[in-house]
């Protein structure tokens, strides 16, 4: 137990240092700072607008009422803001691998995957996460839920799993780059599968939904957290899902670690 606590403390210390460096870096690009905040607000607005227009023509989408959709979008925004805040380096992974720029991450006070993917802390995304949490809160208030300590626990549980899933999926897609160098596959697949997280999974057939929950778990970014909080997922099933997601994550990190052995300093 003491060993685990010490490991967590070490990871948090490294994350804290990366955040400090990220804040310093942003003092250099002032216009860029506001520009990114505004960009994400545009993304939020267009997302909300598309759903609002769709719901002018129907009372619900695959059983998700207007109130449920707001909670769904809220979780989508929160998990996206987490990605923007911590995982921005993922877009450069293919290029860095090709250019042999991963050497410093072999020297590891923490896991190379953590050190690499969490290195670009984005201060502007802190503002985005505030906006995203604001929209989620609005959605939850309008959802006519019964409030109590249990509900807050469910929300916290949902958010933690959404963040975990975001990290795991980033690592998962990047593994392909080790095996198909110069393919840009991580980005292409992230785009392709990422689109499925933008809509409730109930629009798909059962098998596709299961695939997106358990094989390539995009559903854990927005659908599953919203379903959990809205009571659309039985607690015992949610526990099983959580166990699977945690296990899936551990397996993904192990696969990344194995793939990292293929890395040579002069890959290109």
């Amino acid at each position: 137990m003491r060993g685990l606590l010490s490991t967590v403390r070490r990871y948090l210390t490294v994350a804290g240092q990366l955040a400090r460096i990220g804040v310093r870096r942003k003092s250099q690009f002032r216009v860029e700072f506001f520009s990114q905040v505004v960009m994400d607000c545009f993304w939020y607005t267009i997302h909300v607008t598309v759903f609002e227009i769709l719901l002018l023509h129907a009372d619900d989408i695959a059983g998700w009422r207007h109130e449920d959709i707001r909670v769904f979008i809220g979780f989508l925004f929160v998990s996206d803001a987490f990605m923007m805040m911590w995982l921005g380096q993922q877009w450069r992974f293919g290029r860095d691998l090709k250019d042999g720029k991963l050497d410093p991450f072999r020297v590891r006070p923490v896991a190379p995957s953590f050190l690499y993917f969490f290195q670009q802390f984005s201060l502007e995304a802190v503002f985005n996460i505030i906006a995203a949490v604001g929209y989620l809160t609005y959605g939850l208030i309008r959802a006519d839920l019964e409030w109590g300590p249990g509900r807050f626990l469910l929300i916290a549980w949902a958010i933690v799993i959404a963040f975990w899933a975001r990290t795991v999926l980033t690592i998962l897609f990047s593994i392909l780059e080790f095996h198909l160098l110069n393919s840009d596959l991580a980005r292409s697949l992230e785009h392709a599968f990422g689109a499925t997280a933008d809509r409730p999974l109930d629009i798909f057939a059962r098998r596709v939904k299961l695939f997106l929950l358990h094989a390539v778990p995009m559903g854990f970014l927005s659908h599953w957290p919203a379903a959990l909080v809205l009571g659309r997922r039985e607690p015992w099933l949610a526990l099983l899902d959580t166990t699977w997601m945690l296990l899936f994550g551990v397996l993904t990190f192990q696969a990344w670690k194995l793939s990292f052995r293929r890395y040579e300093s002069a890959m290109g």
């Binding site: 267009i46 598309v50 227009i53 023509h57 596959l185 990422g194 499925t196 629009i203």
Partner: protein, 282 residues
């Protein structure tokens, strides 16, 4: 747009030779990313429209209605599939690296060469459009072979010609807008966020996910004044036979006006930006 130091020599033949070489090099670059190239080009622009098909199907099931706006279920599926096909022709916002070159101070070498720098960018547009015409045609034919029952067919050959004219001209407008945004790098440090922001807006206004017929009244009257609508939504509706010759003419005039305005704007921002350019990066 001319270089700052050397005046570009005249002569259409000279410009044509440079453009041809630029297109050839752009093809070589694109082909260098083999695995990524195939996957990227197959997936490019189709994922969201295809997911929207499932959304529309779910809406039809839950509402029990025969039509949403003026669209029936089969029409909406056809709109999304043709939209995904035509979107492949639209120049991508990351298609130019001009902003990075300005930021790094790399454009100096082009300014002292006897060529118009704009030709280099135009070369990339020509390469992209010609390649994507092939890819979009292949994609459409594959769809027709795999799912002939649902795959949409254009109403006539004239409709295809009209739709392609509008898409390519609209794509050129978008390309010019991207050039303008890239030249903002002379004043701003980083412009990728501007490019992404504009992509969100253009995608929405073009009707990538929602046809104009489904939008609220004020958007229905406003959007046809802007080029994105004529770049995607209108061409798809022409292919489906929902818009006719008069609409094509209005679209063509709108796009020509936008092309002229954006071409002038691109030349102006380039010239003004060059006055600030120091050649040492930022």
């Amino acid at each position: 747009m001319s270089g700052a130091v050397a005046a570009a020599p005249g002569g259409l033949r000279h410009h044509w030779r440079i453009l041809r070489s630029a297109v050839a090099y752009e093809y070589k670059k694109a082909a260098a990313f083999k695995a990524g190239f195939i996957v990227r080009e197959l997936i490019h622009g189709i994922e969201r429209p295809i997911i929207m098909i499932f959304v529309y199907k779910a809406i039809f099931v839950s509402s029990g209605a025969a039509a949403i706006g003026t669209y029936g279920e089969a029409d909406l599926i056809a709109y999304m599939l043709l939209g995904a096909t035509l979107w492949k022709l639209v120049f991508p916002e990351r298609g130019l690296d001009l902003a990075e070159q300005i930021f790094e101070g790399f454009i100096t070498k082009f300014l002292i060469m006897p060529l118009r720098f704009f030709l280099m960018m135009l070369g990339r547009f020509v390469q992209y459009s010609s390649l994507q015409l092939l890819i979009a045609s292949t994609f459409w034919l594959l769809g027709l072979l795999i799912a002939p029952a649902i795959w949409p067919r254009p109403v006539s050959a004239v409709a295809v010609a009209q739709a392609l004219t509008l898409v390519l001209l609209g794509s050129y407008c978008y390309f010019l807008l991207i050039v303008v945004l890239n030249t903002m790098a002379f004043w701003l440090d980083v412009v990728w966020t501007l490019l992404v922001m504009v992509r969100f807006i253009v995608g929405f206004c073009a009707g990538q996910l929602l046809p104009l017929a489904l939008m609220p009244g004020f958007l229905k009257t406003t959007l046809p004044w802007f080029f994105p609508y004529w770049m995607l939504c209108a061409p798809v509706e022409i292919l489906l036979g929902r818009l006719g010759g008069a609409d094509f003419q209005r679209g063509l005039l709108t796009l020509i006006a936008w092309t002229l305005a954006l071409q002038l704007l691109a030349a102006a921002t380039w010239r003004r930006g060059l006055r600030r350019y120091t050649g040492v990066g930022q």
